[in-house]
Subunit: 124 residues, 2 copies
């Protein structure tokens, strides 16, 4: 079984996670056979190690980690790679693949630009 872990920053306010939960729910609907879970860098749970442990326990043979960050800064360049190395060390048989930040995707950039312009135009 394949698992997709959506890695997000986390926040103190539980409402912050709403869009991330909506993204996960949408992927689950699109592909019910894939395990899709959120994991957080800080302030929310589970963290990446725990989400990976759960996926491995559930029988995942491959885990794709997709960072739900718009920009690629210190959190993704410095904090995340050791966390992914930790997963690989803890689960030697697991195929763990780290992907680029979702904000680097052209279709995501286009959707955000369109939504921002639509918001600004509203009521004009």
């Amino acid at each position: 079984m394949k698992a997709l872990i959506l890695f997000a920053h986390g926040a103190r306010d539980a409402r912050w996670a709403g869009p991330f939960e909506a993204i996960a729910a949408r992927i689950r609907r699109a592909e019910p056979g894939r395990r899709v879970e959120l994991a957080f860098l800080e302030l929310m749970t589970p963290d990446l190690a725990e989400a990976a442990r759960r996926a491995a326990t559930a029988g995942a043979t491959r885990i794709d980690v997709v960072p739900l960050f718009l920009g690629t800064g210190g959190h993704l360049r410095k904090d995340l790679p050791p966390l992914v190395d930790g997963i690989r060390a803890a689960h030697p048989g697991l195929d763990v693949r780290l992907h680029e930040a979702i904000g680097e995707n052209e279709a995501v950039i286009a959707a955000i630009a369109a939504a921002a312009l639509a918001a600004a135009r509203f009521g004009e």
Copy 2:
């Protein structure tokens, strides 16, 4: 003239801003008559007050502030409203409109979900 200020978090790493600059460039191409600028909460410049001051000086009569954040947490609930109030106080004739986080937009959520799933599927 109308101005759109894209409000982002900011980071130490200059490369972090790449997607945000791409979003701004895309909107400028779509609507050349609108002034489109980035502003940052911290670590990068200009801040929101400075971006608004520049827009007002350039002749803006309305400023739409669109937060380029995925989740709506303390930064948007607590830090941003006083900054917007500050713009209104500094520029009484300006029509300043604060919009919801871009991550609350359904089309953005759909685009992120599709991109995350495509990333996970790549190479399968």
